[in-house]
């Protein structure tokens, strides 16, 4: 798998467009300057957590003797389920803001560094067996995610919530293709 393919997959799973409404509603009580700082801090924390799973992924999967084909097949199925969730999004129930500043939960975890990206990172780290590659891919995916979230209030004003939802769905559709490609790869590995 090419570096670009992995980076695009990670970017799609981080789902910045889908997260814009949640970020905006949780941060609406803070000044724009403070908002930018919180977004920056939370995304750094998320990046740290994702990198951590990247490094331990290989060890864990080796420990329980998982073969390449299994990882690819399961990865394909998981990616497909995630893409379905993006295509048919459930409304984010952010709830009333408590006035407290969100710290780690819920923005860094689980909105950005959620179970899907942790799983995907582990799978790809094991599948490629090349930590430099996955680490670079994580950084490539993280930067646009960060920029999109930083511009979230601007994006919402210009595009409107409906267009953001449409953007998320489009990304979900594209992810379906990556999921199928991983799955068929797994079948080929299994039968080879």
């Amino acid at each position: 798998m090419s570096l670009l393919q992995i980076a695009v997959t990670f970017f799609l799973i981080m789902d910045p467009f889908g997260n814009v409404p949640a970020f905006l509603s949780l941060l609406r009580d803070f000044s724009p300057k403070r908002q930018r700082w919180i977004i920056f801090r939370e995304l750094l924390i998320a990046l740290g957590i994702i990198l951590f799973f990247n490094f331990i992924g290989n060890e864990i999967l080796n420990l329980i003797h998982i073969t390449q084909a299994t990882v690819k097949l399961a990865g394909g199925i998981i990616l497909f389920l995630i893409s379905l969730q993006m295509i048919f999004p459930r409304t984010h129930h952010a709830g009333p803001t408590s006035g407290e500043e969100p710290f780690i939960v819920p923005l860094a975890v689980p909105f950005i560094a959620g179970p899907s990206i942790m799983g995907a990172v582990m799978i790809y780290a094991h599948q490629t067996g090349d930590l430099y590659k996955t680490t670079t891919a994580i950084f490539i995916a993280w930067i646009p995610t960060f920029l999109i979230l930083l511009a979230s209030s601007w994006l919402k004003r210009v595009l409107g919530t409906r267009v953001l939802v449409a953007g998320e769905r489009l990304m979900g559709f594209i992810m379906t293709i990556l999921a199928v490609s991983l799955f068929t790869d797994g079948i080929r590995t299994l039968l080879a």
């Binding site: 295509i87 409906r162 267009v163 769905r169 489009l170 379906t176 293709i177 199928v180 490609s181 068929t184």
Partner: protein, 200 residues
């Protein structure tokens, strides 16, 4: 795939008949004459977006090195999901416009007409298709028919009523299901041939 069959698929996904009630609702505050102009303008913007994604699709999947059979399989799955939505439309009431807001680009051009479904489908077909002109002409044909339907939307709603429109939308969804399964099967047989007959 033949230009006309492609155009028919795109026409089904554009779902112009299903859009009529929503479009009429959004344009409710605009008088009859201005309405036609707004529909034309929004549809033109939508066409530009769709064509843009058509060109993007070719480049994008090359970049990602995804084989055609995988694209067909995924495309079949995506089309199937879209078709299910047309057959079982959720009766979600969405406020598309805020009070006093004029429709421009959003919500008619995107996401109602040039929504995620048609953009993703166009990307998938663009990669699958050899010639870009087949794609462009198919898109333009499907777009032109949808434009005519939307321009005569108030007339169609009067003659067919909302119930008739929903029934037609469902029928179109069923046809789309067939197309999607066909595409999925093509993808699977392509995958099997490519992986096992050539000894890979």
């Amino acid at each position: 795939m033949h230009t006309l069959s492609l155009a028919f698929t795109f026409f089904l996904i554009l779902n112009s008949l299903g859009l009529i009630p929503t479009v009429l609702h959004i344009l409710g505050s605009i008088e009859e004459k201005g309405r036609k102009w707004v529909i034309f303008r929004e549809m033109s913007i939508a066409l530009i977006l769709i064509l843009l994604f058509n060109f993007l699709g070719e480049v994008f999947f090359d970049w990602l090195q995804i084989s055609p059979s995988n694209i067909q399989m995924a495309g079949g799955l995506i089309l199937f999901l879209i078709a299910t939505r047309m057959i079982f439309p959720g009766n979600r009431k969405i406020e598309w416009l805020e009070e006093g807001e004029k429709p421009f680009v959003a919500p008619i051009a995107t996401p109602l007409v040039a929504g995620p479904s048609i953009l993703a489908t166009v990307m998938v077909y663009a990669k699958e298709q050899e010639s870009i002109w087949v794609m462009v002409s198919a898109i333009v044909i499907a777009w032109a028919v949808s434009l005519i339907i939307l321009l005569s939307s108030s007339f169609l709603q009067r003659t067919l009523t909302d119930k008739g429109l929903v029934a037609l939308q469902r029928l179109m969804g069923l046809i789309l299901t067939l197309i999607s399964v066909q595409m999925l099967l093509q993808g699977i047989s392509g995958f099997v041939n490519q992986s096992f007959n050539s000894g890979v």
